[in-house]
């Protein structure tokens, strides 16, 4: 059988009017519509027209700030306010049919039981296209919104490590809850009057330092069995989280050499966690300004920087140039062992449209990216098998 899977996986990260803080001031931006369903539906439909693997939707449990890890400032010249990412994903799910939907959730202040059923349900309403990007929060203001715990001191490496250990336990609870129903637990056996076979529905009995969760989930096992778990990582502890717990890692190397090192680090963590045989995709994040000429892209970047009050940098590398130049760069970087890329459009919808209408056709022409969707589920798009259920004994 011919290998129909693309050699490169492509995601886009959606956030407000784009990742540049002045993006909302672009002539093509729709800043007054950020809190409407139509805005998000249009963005995801555009990404699907580009046959991308998935979109991620950013979220946090506090108001945005100039620096993402700092409490909210009092600036009024940047986008402030956002909608719940899981609900945005659910709202657009019935309007799309192929693209993966991966909202962010903060695991530090939420309940794994609630998130497990929410993402399982997203998998049902999307027909098997759900994932979740887990995030930790060390922001004191977010802790104060819940009033249940102190935020850790980020200068204390052990405290940071614990935050990610807790996230790993969270993912473990969520994964067990997804498996807590076997696929054929619903039997509707009229002869015996039983709707469900209780022997195929399992307590998960998880007890750890931060959680004890009995289970089972209230939601039957989702279509993908295990929806995708993703995480963003910049350094050691989150690299470890990806190696231990994730199906998909978003990383932020500055160049191919660093990308190679990051991939090696995650593979080592994967092996240490006994997951060497499992597929864990690693996508590099890039912020992109795309235009027909490099000069125009760079001029746009400069204009936005000026509006923002100075040069803006990101945790990820920033690219400004043409779609063809970007295609060259992606192919070069991919040789570092990356599965593909998550592009963060600097402005929306403009840079997203450059991705879907120029970059993707260019990559497809080179045989480096799919021409058609060839799978119905997100796991299928990523070439991942549907996992066996850990509780099934047959």
């Amino acid at each position: 059988m011919p290998d129909t899977s693309p050699s490169m996986h492509l995601a886009v990260a959606l956030d407000a009017a784009g990742w540049h803080p002045a993006a909302w001031r672009e002539p093509t931006a729709r800043p007054a519509e950020l809190f409407t369903a139509g805005y998000w539906a249009d963005l995801v439909a555009e990404a699907e027209r580009g046959r991308l693997d998935l979109v991620t939707i950013e979220d946090s449990l506090g108001l945005q700030s100039t620096h993402p890890t700092q409490p909210p400032d009092t600036r009024t010249d940047q986008v402030r306010g956002r909608l719940d990412a899981v609900l945005i994903a659910a709202r657009v799910a019935p309007l799309t049919s192929h693209i993966g939907l991966v909202p962010s959730v903060v695991v530090t202040h939420t309940e794994p039981f609630h998130i497990a059923k929410a993402i399982a349900t997203l998998d049902y309403v999307s027909g098997g296209r759900a994932g979740v990007q887990v995030r930790v929060s060390a922001r004191p203001d977010e802790a104060a919104h819940f009033g249940r715990r102190e935020s850790p001191d980020l200068r204390n490496a052990a405290a940071v490590g614990e935050l990610f250990d807790e996230a790993a336990d969270y993912v473990e609870v969520v994964r067990r809850l997804w498996d807590s129903w076997e696929d054929d637990a619903e039997i509707r056996d009229v002869a015996t009057g039983r709707f469900v076979d209780r022997d195929r529905v399992h307590h998960i009995d998880f007890t750890g330092r931060w959680f004890s969760v009995k289970g089972p989930s209230i939601t039957p096992r989702p279509p993908q069995g295990q929806p995708l778990v993703a995480a963003l990582a910049h350094s050691g502890p989150p690299h470890r989280l990806i190696g231990r717990s994730a199906d998909l890692g978003f990383v932020t190397p500055a160049d191919p050499a660093r990308a190679r090192a990051v991939v090696a680090e995650i593979r080592a963590e994967q092996a240490a966690a006994g997951r060497a045989g499992q597929s864990v995709h690693i996508l590099a994040d890039l912020v992109v300004f795309l235009d027909a000429t490099g000069a125009r892209a760079r001029a746009r970047q400069a204009r936005l920087d000026e509006l923002a009050g100075g040069p803006w940098t990101s945790d990820a590398a920033v690219f400004a140039g043409t779609p063809t130049e970007l295609a060259d760069l992606l192919q070069e970087w991919q040789e570092a062992g990356l599965s593909g890329f998550r592009l963060r459009p600097a402005t929306l919808p403009y840079d997203l449209e450059q991705v879907t209408r120029s970059l993707v056709p260019e990559l497809s022409r080179r045989g480096a990216f799919r021409r058609e969707y060839a799978a119905g589920t997100l796991r299928g798009l990523l070439g991942l098998p549907r996992p066996a259920n850990r509780y099934a004994t047959a």
């Binding site: 002539p27 709202r91 309940e111 399982a120 249940r148 969760v213 209230i218």
Partner: protein, 458 residues
């Protein structure tokens, strides 16, 4: 002059995990696939219903230490389904049950505010309380609340959520490219709340939704529950099936409103109701009987009896008489995670009542359970049902109904096609939606941020 006829409010409850759903019917579809929810919601919207309603349970029910397997088991996440339904409907209200014990106000408020934005103003919240450690075993906060604290926490939870909704006035998003002002108020979303249950402060991250606040529903029937509804809710889901009981309840809760400075129109009384339709009343009665037999099998009857008796009764014949032995007193060890168990505050007295009822009518266990578990039911031809429902509302026994069909997902179709047109002919039900939001459908005003005092009973 006679007053004009009251307008009915109609809503639909997607059948959940209880024995109302006849899953063994060949027409019964999935209770979990989105296509079922979409079908159900589209029918409700085609019929111009006010809203669709989802119940919730946060742990699978167990009996005698085993997962309950006779009824539908499993359901999706409420917020996720409602957000998806917003994509396939335009007007229908989307009401979700969300527990105030195993959630946090900041998170729930941002989910409801988001749902209100993403649905264009159609979100409603049925605030429920829970206090059992059994459910708490699924949550990191664990534990549970003493029963007497549950409404106190619910009030505090709702009060806090209102403060969060009101922390944005609704005009802060300026988004003026030229001047560079996105946010018109540098402190938008600022809040601080401190009481015995919550000590939280900061900035709420979701701007004010189209309805200001979601519509609030309440479902408890105790005195504390009625008071909570009178002080804080926009609608109360009652359980009073007969005309007299309904009128008494209606008068009671509407009478409580004045002390909170509210008028009777500000709290709708909406009992849950089942229905069975036939070409003739006789045919409908036969169908209704058939449905009840399928809802309450012999096994289901015994399991139901065990919930009151609080002991294993699997040796009893469902077609025989009630057990001679009395219910086991004390905390229910047999049935867990089942709301109905809590209804039996005095199991011995209830058992005595049931014995008398069974003796008077010579009922078997199964026949008795069929009788005592019936809800407000409308049985008859479409003309009979439309007339009876209208009479019920005009007699001030309710303001309308939340219909619980026995089939998923098509159980509402016949009602929509046959009864609704007759109600419209009578001039007691809308033929078109008059506004986009659920508050419009229910005739409720949009609350002004900070402009209305919070009417929280202390």
């Amino acid at each position: 002059m006679d007053r004009p006829p009251k307008q009915l409010h109609l809503a639909a409850h997607f059948p959940g995990v209880n024995n109302t759903t006849v899953w063994s019917d060949p027409r019964a579809g999935s209770h979990i696939e989105f296509s079922s929810f979409a079908h159900f919601a589209r029918t409700a919207e085609r019929a111009r219903f006010d809203f669709l309603f989802l119940a919730e349970g946060l742990r699978l029910r167990e009996q005698n230490g085993l997962i309950y397997d006779l009824d539908v088991v499993g359901r999706p996440d409420t917020f996720t389904v409602l957000a998806s339904l917003a994509a396939v409907t335009e007007h229908l209200g989307l009401a979700g049950t969300i527990n105030s014990t195993f959630n946090e106000p900041y998170e729930v408020a941002r989910q409801f505010a988001t749902l209100d934005h993403l649905s264009g103003g159609r979100a409603a919240w049925n605030v429920v309380t829970s206090w059992d450690a059994f459910t708490g075993e699924n949550f990191r906060r664990g534990g549970f609340l003493p029963q007497e604290q549950r409404y106190e926490r619910a009030r505090s939870f709702l009060h806090t959520a209102w403060e969060l909704f009101d922390s944005w006035r609704g005009d802060e998003i300026v988004a003026d490219r030229r001047s560079g002002v996105f946010l018109g108020d540098a402190r938008a979303g600022t809040f601080a709340h401190r009481d015995a249950h919550f000590d939280i402060a900061g900035r709420f991250s979701v701007p004010r939704g189209p309805q200001g606040r979601p519509v609030i529903f309440q479902a408890g029937d105790s005195d504390a529950g009625r008071e909570f509804a009178a002080s804080s809710a926009d609608a109360i889901f009652s359980q009073h099936g007969t005309l007299d009981a309904g009128r008494a309840f209606y008068a009671d809760v509407k009478g409580r409103l004045a002390r909170y400075g509210r008028t009777p129109e500000e709290l709708l009384v909406l009992p849950a109701a089942t229905f069975a339709l036939g070409d003739t009343d006789e045919e409908a009665r036969e169908l209704a009987h058939e449905i009840r037999l399928r809802q309450v099998s012999g096994q289901t009857a015994i399991r139901f009896l065990e919930q009151l008796w609080n002991r294993d009764l699997s040796g009893y014949d469902p077609d025989g008489p009630l057990p001679e032995i009395d219910p086991e007193p004390g905390e229910n060890q047999v049935a867990r995670g089942r709301a109905s168990v809590r209804m039996y505050r005095d199991p011995l007295a209830t058992a005595k009542q049931w014995r008398e009822r069974a003796a008077a009518k010579n009922l078997s266990i199964r026949e008795l359970i069929i009788e005592v578990t019936g809800r407000q039911t409308f049985i008859g031809s479409p003309a009979t049902v439309a007339r009876t429902m209208d009479e019920f509302v005009q007699a001030d026994a309710s303001d309308g109904f939340i219909l619980v069909p026995h089939l998923t997902p098509g159980g509402l179709d016949e009602f929509a096609d046959t009864v609704v047109p007759l109600l419209q002919e009578r001039g007691v039900f809308r033929t078109e939606y008059t506004g986009p939001t659920l508050r419009d459908h229910l005739g409720l005003a949009v609350p002004r941020p900070g402009g209305t005092a919070l009417r929280i009973a202390s």
